[in-house]
Symmetry: D2
Subunit: 365 residues, 4 copies
């Protein structure tokens, strides 16, 4: 990491003189669909990750009005499928990627609207920063969406949404679309033009089977690639974080760092991540707490759920409030500061990085 | 299994004539600590498991008075450690084994008594069929014991018990003592003569960290051999079973068989069994339901938690009521019949059998 | 896959009329670094993988002269590091990627030349279609390179090459550079400007420890991410394939399909792939044999090692001879036909696809 | 381990006075098949493993004549199945167990004799200390048995033996019979009264498919519980050990301790032990080398394959020569001393102990 000798200083070692023979050689390469390594090594194999994606912050109070305007101007329906507005990393233009692996969007559903059913190989979740009244129907199982909830729609599960109320609702969609598109792994299939079940139960069938701590149904002993529990309710998340801080107050190990409570959402059949490509976590900082600056391989997206604070992202400090989102691309350092109790939802591509053994972390100091 | 040709009919194939030379050979064997296979094959390698352990039923209304009498006559304290009365399988006398792998006992703790702390390599749990008011202190963390709760004390965790009330309390202790003793894997260490913490919190610290469905503390990302969640509360178990039957009523897959709800207690870091040697489950049958007769490798112990019914065990039917316990040794068929809603706690050595790839199941019909 | 209703036919469902308000909205999106999903769904989430990479064949007899010319014109040394000529998929221009995940190059090392040591997070291997006389020094262990051998240089292992002879040598380099570059996981460090050990042993220390079938050194009981056996010799590969075909002749199951012998190179500590991102295999077809057409998620590269035959790639047939290489991008069908005994080395990104649970296969007929 | 306060010194804490009431209580226990813990804790839960099995040495020159006499006096055939003479640990009489988990026997097969086919859930292997000329037929695949070879017959594989020569042959059989018998997991089935294939190939089909270092047939990608490679040849074992010592001589890490080379036989589909219950290893000590004394949970059996040396077993030293066998029961310390180059085969129940998380090791000094 700290090797003084970089590509920049030594890269000219293999640059031969420009001669007619060399030009003929390079023309031969081009004709045969060949490209020499020695002319582009530094870009192909940097000393550490040098992402095109840039660290970036989106402000909720500027996003939301645009989402509302979309609700007025753009119908939702078959073909476009979703009134979803992607957060496009400026470094990755013209793609609507928030990072090379992740897609993040604000989805907006007006009163009584339905987003039709489909399924795709891509893994998806919804996180609700505000609102109430939409149900996501996942493989026929209606799942209520309420503030603070995390809802999964893992790969190849049919899903649609409908708004049961007279108010619009907006939420965060997260997917592995950029990974899927670049790695050519995506499949897609249309389903019902409406949702298959307009019931509005308080709890989905998946929760009724699986949301019991440490208890596994005997009808569900087969491990699954993604979590069969597809709704993680705010009441549980909030309680888990509250207890961690209370235990810390009582002098017991519980938090991940002083003043910093955090949980990871998991697949109860394995204890691992909820989906093969996306990690989801929730972090709570006490007022005044701050995290150590970290560099990590892979990219993370945060959304402020509550409270006030700031992020120092690649050395630049930005204040944050409810709904604000930011992305930390690979190996860009980030740290958080809490001005009040500060709650943040986080998702990342860490399962990709870890499963392929590319994870490294550098912690300052 | 159904091979007509058994050891009994062919075993004489290798029995040589009794001659002086043969006798000399057999004396030579004895002198050199040798035993020929051909004189004992049928016993060593039966056609299917032929356990010395017998199927057996213990009636709660006969156990409990003896436990109470022990409370009057036998002090609890260092050395004996526990006022625990082992259910001794008649086929395994003179050992206090309920099966070749499992130990089951009624432990009885009088008003204000303390059972001192110790730890051992053996894995243990407590299941509470009745009562309230005792706390188990596990590695310094006081865990309330109440009706319907499952409490773990995994191998090499210090633990003691104290009764905070003016009433005695009795519960079921389950351990892998017979396995440990026969396989020579046990270690033991004394701890405090009292318990290290007489606090009586409603929830243990382990629960406060871990009993949130699907949520894993970031301070607990290392997988553990045994469940870090060491208290499974009745309210959750009851709700999980109630939901399974309700889902069945609504026409959805949820139960393990019609009218038969069941959960397995799991280690949230892996989704697997709570301890390396002991599986714990809870089963609920609707009134009138019955299970198919099953033969399984390995042994299981059941305790009726509520309701009325019967077990057919190795072909013999016994009626059961609250607190009654029975053991199904390896390959002895068992089935349950429910006269009312019928709730049973079950524990078994299935993790041993499965991890060593010896599991087989035979289901009738 | 065969859904008649495609994005193309229904994609206009969400295209609103072009109004000043809509234009203002779209300008607002642009200003805030947002891109709506409904304008680009079909491209982002195709019905099945639609790779930009194209199926493509490179002919050895056109590559080799260019490699030789490079040997004359381009010095090898620090900075450029390797005289390696990348096979650049025309669909992925201007990148030198053979597929979105994989990099393949011909490396050429002249008499007595040295390619200096470095290490990188990217995983690499060499496969030798022809020649002798170069040693790769991996973490200080010199590994002979000979025709038919597969040599690994897993992520973050120092490695350099030196040619001990008076003849040049060319071979195939395979790496996960495109994956690493796009996903931002790469690290790089320069090592010695020469190789650290110019010894030319017949067998590397890694082989002497690990190349004994089924035998694991007690000093190597820790599982490793990549194979500690880093040289797979042709004599073993050839014998394994010969035996499979002989067993088939004798009427026993051994081949993967009639007339089709194949082995996968594995990590002996796990039985899994040799490196976390790259699968390596060797295939042998009997004269006249052909494989069924397959579509697979992920990309594969083949090099003909010996014999004559053809590939049908995305419906187009190309004849192949020794040294020829081709790439089958994701979900492009491929099949092989053997005119003589036909030997091919194959590498692919299947470990990436499988570990992230995106693998699907479609076999014709 | 070193806790001064042992059960012996404190066990009397819970012994109540002998009164008529107490006697009545104990009679009640007996009538109800109950046994109190407090009268037997020290035996049930010792401070560390206190095996009934004793450390013991069997001398080959005393075993072999008895095996030969058996060959004259006892026919081999259906019913008894094998002319196998079990090494019976004196501490485990009257059972023919060498340890609580393991069975070891000398099997003797006369000229042209056949031991009929059968299969059982128990896992078995053969190790050949001397001789040649017998084939074991495993699921129809004839496997040559020669000096230094390890041959597997994993659970539920049919197997029989036949001697193709005019000379008798004796070898070591190892099984998990005691574990199976005590844990009630055994099944047994008779097969052909002869072996199903009298061919005498040099290499079995399993070897032809699997005995290629690091190469896995594509027809064998499914992981298996036991090793599909069922013959481990002396030539490979010897070479692996020779290379380890040569590497040590050259100054490289390779041996498990100075002068101590060792390999573990593994399942190539997983890199783990060859069978779920039995670990097999081979150890070679240089002349003059000795191992540190170790206590381990679980039991091990050694057979001297070549050379001269000694074992210090539970503090007692015994000299050893070719063919001699000894058992180290759980937590009994053992160390080896080599007077010449000293080769030993070892098998143990470590997979049982490790999979159930009971392993501990104590190394002196």
């Amino acid at each position: 990491m700290r090797n003084a000798k970089t590509h920049d200083t030594v890269v000219h070692g293999m640059q031969p003189e420009d001669t007619p023979e060399l030009r003929a050689l390079y023309e031969g390469f081009e004709k045969e669909s060949l490209i020499p390594l020695w002319t582009q090594l530094g870009d192909l194999m940097p000393m550490h990750p040098k992402p095109k994606a840039v660290p970036y912050v989106w402000k909720w109070n500027r996003l939301l009005p645009l989402a509302k305007a979309s609700g007025d101007l753009v119908p939702v329906g078959r073909g476009g499928e979703r009134r979803a507005i992607g957060l496009a990393n400026p470094g990755l233009a013209p793609n609507a990627y928030i990072s090379p692996t992740l897609w993040a969007a604000i989805q907006y559903l007006g009163p009584k609207e339905t987003a039709p059913e489909h399924r795709h190989a891509q893994n998806a979740f919804r996180f609700v920063v505000e609102g109430e009244g939409v149900w996501t129907v996942v493989n026929g199982d209606p799942v209520r969406m309420s503030r603070g909830d995390l809802l999964l729609t893992p790969g190849w599960h049919f899903h649609g949404h409908h708004n049961d109320t007279d108010n619009p609702m907006a939420w965060l969609d997260g997917l592995d679309i950029p990974f899927s598109q670049q790695m050519d792994v995506g499949f897609f299939e249309f389903g019902a033009d409406r949702v298959t079940d307009y019931a509005t139960p308080e709890f989905s069938r998946g929760e009724r089977l699986w949301a019991h701590p440490g208890l596994r149904p005997l009808s569900g002993l087969q491990n699954t690639v993604s979590s069969p529990l597809a709704a993680f309710r705010w009441v549980h998340t909030d309680q888990a974080l509250t207890e961690q801080l209370a235990l810390e107050d009582e002098g017991h190990p519980a938090t991940v760092a002083p003043g910093h409570a955090a949980i990871r959402y998991t697949n109860p059949t394995t204890g691992g991540d909820v989906m093969p490509t996306i990690r989801c976590e929730f972090h709570r900082l006490r007022e005044g707490a701050q995290t150590v600056a970290r560099n990590e391989v892979g990219s993370s997206v945060f959304q402020v759920f509550d409270g006030q604070g700031a992020v120092v992202l690649g050395g630049e400090r930005t204040t944050l409030e409810k709904g604000d989102m930011f992305v930390a691309p690979s190996w860009v350092s980030w740290s958080l500061e809490a001005e009040s109790q500060f709650d943040l939802f986080r998702f990342s591509d860490a399962p990709i990085i870890e499963r392929l053994d590319f994870m490294r972390t550098y912690v300052e100091g």
